[in-house]
């Protein structure tokens, strides 16, 4: 490892502003989870300061060393662009895992609401607004493989996917966005059906479980919709 002999006074005299300015310029161009972005800037800072120390031990002034270290790392836009596929994959994986974790919970709240109220699907009937229920099923059929592919492509299985699919950097955010939009479609369909059911006023309804299920779906619509939009935005920057 290089550069262990820089004195404390020399270290203190190092003007870190150029390094911090460079890191800020990289950070401003990174898109993704805040923790992942912070980890990248911390790691780059360590590398830059090690490079800077090496130049100092070779006789450069602190200012010259900082400029040389920054030059060696490359311009901020290029560095940020090199991290973009990784950050996109990290974000897509988080979105997919969050949907996988919360999906069954949202589903259970709706099943509970249907069971408590003996809603038509519980009686194997699809009258009135319930005719739209297969749309939610179709969205689920789209969401499940999209989630599976996202998790596979962004983890260790990604290398085994191989071929164009495994190397395509837009694949994870695309799959995650599809899964998020499909989840939104499931929830919007269920909420619309329940609104229609309430308006037609067929039978007495215990509203607590229905309200719980509706709140769960509304929350997921907001979060999954935002996540899908971010995935699509990220995807656009990768193409």
């Amino acid at each position: 490892m290089a550069g262990g002999n820089v004195s404390r006074s020399q270290q203190r005299s190092v003007d870190r502003d150029p390094v911090e300015g460079y890191l800020a310029a990289v950070a401003a161009r990174l898109a993704g989870p805040p923790a992942a972005r912070a980890a990248i800037t911390d790691e780059l800072r360590d590398g830059l300061l090690e490079t800077l120390k090496t130049h100092c031990t070779q006789g450069s002034s602190p200012q010259e060393a900082a400029a040389a270290a920054i030059e060696e790392f490359g311009d901020p836009a290029t560095v940020a662009a090199a991290f973009a596929p990784e950050l996109a994959a990290v974000h897509a994986r988080r979105v997919a895992l969050a949907l996988l974790a919360t999906g069954p919970l949202v589903g259970l709240t709706w099943i509970a609401a249907a069971a408590v109220n003996a809603l038509p699907p519980w009686r194997h009937q699809l009258p009135g607004p319930w005719i739209a229920l297969p749309l939610a099923g179709l969205a689920l059929v789209i969401a499940c493989p999209a989630l599976g592919l996202t998790v596979a492509a962004t983890g260790r299985l990604g290398r085994r996917l191989g071929g164009r699919l495994g190397r395509r950097v837009t694949f994870p955010p695309t799959c995650a966005a599809v899964a998020g939009l499909a989840a939104v479609l499931v929830d919007v369909t269920l909420l619309a059906i329940m609104c229609g059911h309430a308006l037609t006023g067929s039978g007495s309804t215990t509203w607590a479980p229905v309200g719980l299920a509706a709140c769960a779906s509304l929350t997921r619509v907001a979060l999954a919709g935002r996540a899908a939009r971010r995935c699509l935005t990220t995807r656009a920057t990768l193409t």
Partner: protein, 112 residues
Amino acid sequence: MRAEVLKGHLDALLLATLQDGPRHGYAIKEALRAGSGGRFDLPGGTVYPALHRLERAGLIRGSWSVVNGRRRRSYQLTPSGQRALSQERSSWQDFSTAVTALLGGEPWPAAT
């Protein structure tokens, strides 16, 4: 030498720098430079994203420590990474043997 020249080989070279034990990003970059006689002096902006990609693929494992008051991420090979390195090394030897045979100045076999 530009990073593009190493396209397709960078992952194997990065894995090889970790075969003797954990290193942090700057030490990996320096190991590449020193090990290649100064030919592979890659920008940090190339090395660090590649390390993240290898970590996500499960070939290396990163861990944080604090050195001189700042956070440092060091990497080490995983068992999958060890296997991948062995495979890369084997396929490179086959490839380089074939290319050396063709470009090494030996007379080509006569066409039939």
